[in-house]
Symmetry: C2
Subunit: 589 residues, 2 copies
């Protein structure tokens, strides 16, 4: 059955680029959904076939090839529901609302949990009155303005668009088999790419309510085990002896579609094998989706940070993206659960094309995803009292919300400081420098003897202030940049907590309703006991995750503040030294 | 014969202050011109008598008691014209135009000499877009806005108004005899105060064209001799072995008119006698007028700098005025001709009331004023060729104009920098400091063990940035202030050069016209020779003055740049040390 789509926005094809001009409201027939890079191949009513931006169309909501329920491998995010009576879902509908709200209220993920009206909004960025004066040295300037692609659709919130074009035909490497991969999966009707699309169109689809886990009759027989130990700080994940790490480097430009589209391939070298593997951005994105599906209910998986990164020049953009991909990979490597997962290991250490292909297919068929990840968690301690579970949850919610505010405040003042340091401030030092030099020039025309010492000194002082202007303008890249990057990363990470905490909170609410459900015979008394036990497990997972977060946070902030202050000290000392040198040239005889 | 005056602007008397309400266009009879402090006592047509601001009225232009010509002591600025045929003046009328232009075109004293259209204007101050945001720590902010007195007349360019009120009746000290003094002089019809008024109303009156000197039949038999030697740098004044200096200190508030008006008295201690004398601002002003009358044609006498100084608080105002009076006195002390003059010595070293009174009267009757000061100048070298005289003059004109531009540029950028350093910049550092501290506060709520080291360090870093904010805000008072003061002083000094150079230029023009004057029998061939010789003397004086200026300039700029850079070095080093301290508190274990 042919998949149809509605055109949401007008799109004019670029000549010679194999694109298809479409009009808003037009109906298209999808001919190939596996183009990648934000493109879909479609045919219009006149029979013309060409590429259309994925975000410009809306696939028909009732995806015909999507299986109804119950069969394996069809809906990975729903997981192994087993013989659960799905009518129970109705009873949970009100309780699971927060999770849905979170997902749909994308602009303010904190709105469900918090009453603080000032929180969570990015309005500080937009209200900055100097916003338009930003110089071209400010990588943050594009943040509030959304994606800069010229022909981005007005409502395309979850933008798949990217500077990195994907290939239609593979140009070598493992991309060819990958395309085959997609074709194979399309036959199954639930492959990665279409899944991503359905995620985009039906927000929250994969974030099923925790009832799936809380009430499933028997837990999946997964070989995966995620033990939680009691550490000094409380529940902790199992940490490996040597921490996984990797280096993202050596971005290389490739092209495909007969040179029409180009892409960047990065080299990733893990410290375990020390053997580099190559990945394009779309593979990072694939990994992100897998991790989100698999761990998202228990572990905040930060988005790939690059969607909004732009650079005025391609090199700048590539460098920035690589730096942020490195940051993302480092964070993932540091996570004991994520780094130890099969899909993450596959990404870092696949041996060859076949290995990658097999692993990829396997990962996409993984059933222990969504809330079912909790079924693999094995706390060593005894079950927690539901009241304690709730208190912990509230505490984490408050903390992450407050930290989100704090981080955003730093980003706001940092952004303003960046603009001042790269804009008006160096201009002013330059003008001071010029004024000294101009006065010096005047003095040289005095015709008075013994003028040279002063004019030389005054010129040197003027040049010093011009140098200071440059130091001031360049400094943010040396220190503020890292402070901003770290806080930006934390902003992204903290933005995942409402979802993670939301799943937890929904679980707590379910347990609270257990008595009512028992009374109405929706669940058995044994189900209620099981639910309480499982919510305790969820709480251990959340606590382990929070402790992981805190430990990383303390390290990260110590590190970035050290770096920031170290560079600031150097900066001020350099200026002082330059001025001391300038001072020494003046003399009052 | 009673002196009449027209009221220029409406003025409403302040109750109980002995003032007289007057209307624009009203005719008043002056009953006492010697009130001082910018006040004049007058009677209206209804017979009411009271004080009226001097600048709100215009004295009748034909001052009836003013002697026609030729008599001694009557017109000090005209000097001893002797038996000069005054009809010669007519012949000079066109040539003396520049001098008149200069005086009347007060807003742009450079307009006569220069073609650069950007020069000489203060528009930079006014066009500053941030001008309205100035904080209260900015002593420059009032500069472009003119005198802040609330009821200043709209056209009162030469404002005598002052925060320091003068007494009607002396409250002790030498002020009583001073009033008597004025009364005595009024009888003579040409005393200092009325002279000042006439100067205000007839700009350029005392700056008679150089023909008075160039053509007078015999030079005044003044005991004063101002030799000019040939130094290494060219013609130089005769410098004393020890340089005169004085300290202006210890401002004391007094009051008079039954407490209605108050004044500040300063203590001035010269290094020669080491014996303090007291003077009020009006005495400085009297001295300034004497020096301007006497030396203004040859030596730029900078205005008392205080007219436009304001402070938000009286203390700030008094401190600033004292600092600038000190600067003015120091400059006068450093000038070999000024400091050695009888009137200046009187000001600094009068022994008692009687001494002051006698000296004052004598100074006011001094006939060697205006261009006649050149008659006392005795160059040791041979006469200069008129071409060389003209070249020198042009050079000085160009230089002083160019330096005026350079100085104004520094004042403009300095002013902007001042505003940034006292306004937005410290606010930003404060916000950075607050953001760090806020994040630290959030971190303390984590409930995670081992948080304290980071939160303490982060709080300390935040406080450090708040301290930096304060350092930044206070710094301009420590360095930029002096750079601005020096340049402001030079701006004032340079503003006098057009007049001084103007007299010289007019002299040169006269000499150029000499042949024509001889041909039309306006002057004799001998007169022409005399004129050339006297212009040469004028040139020696101008060169000596320029060399004096250059020498002082080199010293002043070296000194102020040393001070500025020294404080800047300290500033940056202090910040670096504070940040190093903050840095040391972070740890990555």
């Amino acid at each position: 059955m042919a998949l149809k789509a509605q055109v949401l926005y007008d799109f004019t094809a670029e000549a010679g680029n194999n694109e298809l001009t479409v009009k808003e409201g037009e109906t298209l027939t999808i001919t190939n959904q596996n183009i990648g890079g934000g493109w879909i191949e479609a045919r219009n009513s006149r029979g013309d076939v060409g590429l259309v931006p994925e975000d410009y169309i809306e696939l028909n909501k009732a995806i015909p090839s999507f299986p109804a329920s119950g069969t394996t491998a069809a809906t990975p995010s729903v997981g192994n529901v087993g013989n659960l009576d799905l009518s129970v879902f109705d009873a949970f509908a009100p309780a699971s609302a927060p999770t849905q709200n979170q997902a749909s209220n994308g602009n303010d993920p904190w709105s469900v949990w918090n009453t603080d009206p000032s929180g969570g909004s990015n309005s500080n960025w937009a209200s900055n009155p100097e916003g338009t004066q930003t110089g071209n040295t400010d990588p943050w300037s594009s943040v509030p303005h959304g994606h800069p692609q010229a022909y981005q659709g007005p409502g395309a919130e979850d933008d798949e668009w990217d500077d990195e074009w994907d290939d239609m035909k593979s140009s070598g490497g493992y991309t060819e088999s990958e395309t085959g991969d997609g074709g194979a999966m399309q036959r199954g009707g639930a492959h990665a790419t279409s899944m991503k699309i359905s995620l985009n169109k039906f927000p929250g689809f994969s974030k099923s309510g925790p009832e799936l886990y809380l009430l499933c009759k028997q837990l999946a027989k997964s070989k995966e085990k995620l033990p939680i130990y009691m550490g000094e700080v409380g529940p902790v994940w199992s940490y490996p002896e040597t921490q996984l790490d990797c280096v993202v480097a050596d971005p290389k430009k490739g092209s495909k579609m007969y040179g029409l589209k180009s892409y960047i391939e990065y080299q990733i070298t893990p410290n375990t094998t020390n053997r580099p593997v190559n990945h394009r951005y779309k593979h990072f994105d694939w990994l992100y989706e897998r991790l989100l599906d698999k761990f998202g209910s228990a572990i905040p998986i930060p988005s790939l940070p690059d969607k909004q990164v732009t650079g005025r020049f391609e090199e700048e953009f590539i460098k920035m993206r690589m730096e942020r991909l490195q940051g993302w990979m480092t964070r993932m490597c540091r996570h004991p659960v994520v780094s130890n997962s099969e899909v993450f290991q596959l990404f870092l250490t696949y041996k060859d094309e076949k290995d990658w292909k097999t692993g990829k297919r396997k990962a996409e068929k993984d059933e222990t995803v969504g809330v079912m990840i909790f079924s693999t968690i094995e706390p060593e301690s005894s079950d927690l009292d539901p009241t304690e579970v709730e208190q912990k949850c509230e505490q984490f919610s408050r903390f992450t919300k407050a930290m989100d505010d704090g981080v955003k405040e730093i980003l706001t003042v940092g952004h303003e400081h960046w603009k001042r340091c790269t804009g008006p401030l160096p201009k002013e030092y330059q003008r001071i420098g010029k004024a000294f030099q101009n006065l010096s020039s005047v003095f040289t025309t005095s015709g008075y003897q013994g003028e040279a010492t002063l004019t030389d000194a005054l010129t040197a002082a003027g040049k010093t202030y011009e140098e200071i202007a440059q130091l001031v303008a360049e400094q943010p890249r040396k220190d503020l940049h890292f402070l901003m990057e770290t806080n930006n990363e934390y902003k992204g990470l903290l933005g995942c907590f409402p979802d993670t905490i939301g799943v937890h909170k929904a679980g707590i609410d379910k347990v609270k309703e257990a008595d009512k459900l028992v009374a109405t015979s929706k669940i058995t008394p044994q189900d209620k006991v099981t639910m309480a036990k499982r919510v305790s497990t969820m709480s251990y997972a959340l606590q382990a995750e929070m402790n992981h977060f805190h430990s990383n946070r303390i390290y990260d902030y110590n590190r970035v503040m050290q770096l920031y202050l170290e560079e600031q000290v150097k900066f001020y000392e350099t200026i002082a030294a330059k001025l001391r040198q300038a001072h020494s040239q003046f003399t009052t005889m």
